[in-house]
């Protein structure tokens, strides 16, 4: 009991001394700008070879030389549990003044009025860029326009770009006698040969994280449903937004121009299922997404579908026993599908990487805070700062015009400006998305036929569209 009594007294003292007295905020008279840098959050490397960047500290130091009245504070924030973190901070009005976030994750909050429409500010000159008349001109236009929210505005500026590609083991390819394919038919032939030679042709993830499945569906749909997508978009410029908007999709479903029973829609499902013969066993149950990477580096799989973020990791790997190459998604031709379109193959990615910055309305409502926040954001995104920042991390490519050269990133650069007009990338509702994924899994496992699967999806599609239309008051 003595120990208990002593610990009670001790803990009470600690409780009183340490529990109180901490208050966030600057104690001097400086204007404090809080920044969450997402993947660019500065952190000293834990050891040599650790992939991290401290460059944001340099940028803050440079800025403080020009504006000694401003204090830049980088908050550590959270990459996981973003929704809970963001929602609670917004409710408490404590969101960092510059918030690193994936733009599409905050689009759902637009109706709540939490985020500042940056369009008017993008028209202003960026004084840190010589001769600049409009801040928006420092970004690549196509990729930036593609990150407009469903309401047509830009809520986050992106300093980097990401692109995906097929990484292949050059030694295995040489041994089996195959070359990087250009068309889907060649791609299937290459995988068939690799399979016969005893390799897993490609490591694929359709388990815990189904991003890869979404990429596959989108990029195949983009090619196979080319004519339909053009019709749905009514001839308007392709590069705007993600291509098919939610409203256009709802209208197309309501008027019968987009249906799960359309033969070209069913063709997308068939092509993915045919392709799945070459995935590793258990691809539907992958729990750890890095398992895909491990199959490739350990030479069990001849290919993996990954992105620019894997390059540095592979290049820093002293135990990698092979050379690798990267090729883009092969075009689907008439040889593989009667629905093959123009042969233009778009990419998966764009200005959707890790360097996207939004400003909460709690900041923009305070004119002084907004003035400095905007000024720092302009400074941060200026080519002399943003390009070295992106290069220092080494996972992505700058979305800022300026001098940049990195031979490792070359394979990923050819698709920029031609991003997929995927309808599926804009899920109708969250429930629909879940149902879609589960139905696809059942189809892949042969639990249901293609006809049964598309019957289910047609019903779900109609249900989701009715829900959206009644919510948004759309009538077609």
């Amino acid at each position: 009991m003595k120990i208990l009594k002593i610990s009670i007294i001790l803990m009470t003292v600690i409780f009183l001394v340490c529990g109180c007295g901490h208050k966030s905020g600057s104690r001097d008279n400086k204007i404090e700008i809080k920044v969450f840098g997402l993947t660019y959050s500065p952190r000293k490397p834990a050891r040599k070879g650790d992939i991290t960047s401290t460059y944001l500290w340099n940028i803050a130091d440079e800025y403080k030389k020009i504006h000694p009245e401003v204090k830049i504070k980088y908050v550590k924030g959270s990459v996981g549990s973003f929704e809970a973190w963001n929602t609670t901070m917004q409710l408490a009005h404590s969101t960092p003044d510059i918030m690193g976030c994936q733009a599409d994750k905050i689009w759902t909050d637009i109706d709540k009025g939490w985020w500042t429409n940056l369009d008017p500010y993008l028209e202003l000159p960026n004084k840190y860029v010589r001769g600049n008349k409009h801040w928006k001109d420092i970004y690549f236009k196509e990729s930036t326009e593609a990150r407009r929210a469903p309401d047509g505005h830009i809520y986050a500026v992106a300093i980097d770009l990401v692109e995906t590609g097929f990484f292949y083991n050059k030694e295995i390819f040489n041994k089996v006698g195959v070359k990087p394919p250009k068309t889907w038919a060649e791609f299937i032939q290459v995988q068939e040969k690799l399979k016969r030679a005893g390799y897993i042709p490609i490591s694929f993830n359709m388990g815990a994280n189904h991003d890869m499945f979404t990429w596959a569906f989108g990029i195949i749909q983009d090619q196979v449903m080319d004519l339909r997508i053009k019709k749905i978009m009514g001839g308007r410029k392709e590069s705007y937004g993600f291509g098919v908007s939610q409203k256009e999709l709802c209208k197309a479903i309501k008027t019968g121009n987009y249906s799960a029973k359309d033969p070209d829609y069913m063709e997308v499902w068939r092509l993915i299922k045919d392709w799945s013969k070459y995935f590793q066993r258990g691809y539907l149950g992958v729990v750890d997404p890095s398992a895909i990477y491990r199959l490739f580096v350990n030479e069990k799989a001849a290919m993996m579908w990954s992105g620019s973020w894997s390059v540095k990791q592979l290049d820093n790997d002293p135990e990698l026993k092979f050379h690798y190459g990267v090729f883009s998604f092969p075009g689907i031709t008439k040889e593989s599908s009667r629905f093959a379109g123009t042969g233009i193959v778009r990419g998966v990615g764009g200005a959707s990487a890790a360097g996207q910055f939004a400003v909460p309305t709690t900041t923009s409502r305070d004119p002084v805070k907004m003035k400095y926040t905007l000024d720092y954001l302009m400074f941060l995104t200026a080519p002399q700062n943003a390009i070295p920042l992106v290069k220092d991390l080494g996972l992505f490519i700058p979305n800022i015009k300026g001098s940049y050269d990195d031979p490792h990133m070359k394979p990923f650069m050819e698709n920029f400006g031609r991003h997929i007009r995927i309808a599926h990338e804009l899920p109708l509702t969250r429930d629909y998305d879940e149902k879609f994924y589960k139905t696809f899994q059942s189809y892949m496992l042969d639990e249901i036929t293609l006809n049964e699967a598309t019957d289910i999806m047609q019903k779900e599609m109609e249900k989701a569209v009715d829900e959206i239309c009644s919510q948004k008051g759309w009538k077609f």
Binding site: H22, R47, V75, K76, S78, W85, N316
Partner: protein, 273 residues
């Protein structure tokens, strides 16, 4: 001979089970010494050279947060034990109007998942100006931890024969003395079990500290500090697991000292429903 073989088979099976149980912990330690390439090429086994610098690197990152975690978990467990033992004693030994209703109201809170109360609890903390402070973690943890503790302790206090308290009263003991010198010493194993369970929960909590300490990094707790090594596109496995290992050490030390209470508490029915 037959007995010997049977024993050997049992020992073999038990060893395999023990290894399987311990393997996640062993794997954590193996991984703590690896670089990312070592981790990717040899997931399950240890690798050479061992990278001790993972520990120094991660220590630099998380050491400020260990003290925060100790304060939060320590204060919570003391506050929770004081309040819950008093409440449980009252519920067990006294009769007052609405006693059953109040008790059912309290234990019915066990049925509400924490995630459902995340936003309302957070709004309450905002109104009380407790965000970005350690109080914002300690107070709700004490409140939340009490429910289970009251439930367990009340059953135990209720089972202590009334005659013991009666004799003490005859000898002139006050109600406070009855509680402090009779009831509490008798339920030490229970208190130990509840304390260990509570510390485990608060030490490992991630979401609540994340939302409460949203922008004041100096007040982050260990689980938040460790997340600096995990990212959407890239995770530094070695330092992350070195961090997990360091974070587990205080708990291991605590278990070493409280194991006897914990086991005694479990065997005497502390966490039997």
């Amino acid at each position: 001979m037959h007995q010997k073989i049977s024993n050997m088979v049992s020992i073999g099976i038990l060893t395999i089970i023990a290894l399987l149980t311990l393997y996640p912990f062993i794997l954590m330690i193996f991984t703590a010494f690896k670089t990312n390439p070592q981790f990717e090429h040899m997931l399950w086994l240890p690798t050479i050279p061992m990278h001790w610098e993972n520990f120094s690197g991660v220590w630099r990152e998380i050491s400020p947060y260990i003290w925060n975690s100790i304060i939060v978990s320590g204060s919570t467990v003391v506050g929770m034990l004081i309040l819950s033992s008093i409440s449980a004693f009252v519920f067990a030994r006294y009769n007052f109007p609405g006693k059953s209703f109040l008790f059912i109201a309290i234990i019915s809170l066990l049925m509400i998942p924490g995630v459902l109360t995340l936003i309302p609890s957070f709004m309450l903390m905002v109104k009380l100006h407790l965000t970005n402070s350690l109080w914002g973690m300690i107070m709700p943890y004490i409140a939340g931890g009490q429910v289970m503790a009251i439930f367990i302790l009340r059953s135990f206090f209720a089972n202590i024969p009334e005659e013991i308290f009666e004799s003490a009263r005859i000898d002139g003991a006050s109600e406070a003395k009855n509680f402090l010198h009779i009831a509490l010493p008798l339920c030490k194993p229970m208190l130990g079990t509840i304390a260990v369970m509570n510390i485990l929960a608060t030490w490992n909590e991630y979401v609540w500290p994340l939302v409460i300490i949203s922008t004041n990094d100096e007040l982050r707790t260990l689980p938040l500090g460790l997340m600096a090594f995990a990212g959407t596109f890239y995770t530094n496995w070695g330092p992350l697991f070195a961090g997990y290992t360091l974070a587990a050490l205080p708990l291991l030390i605590m278990f070493a000292f409280t194991m006897k209470y914990f086991i005694r508490g479990i065997t005497s029915g502390a966490i039997k429903m």
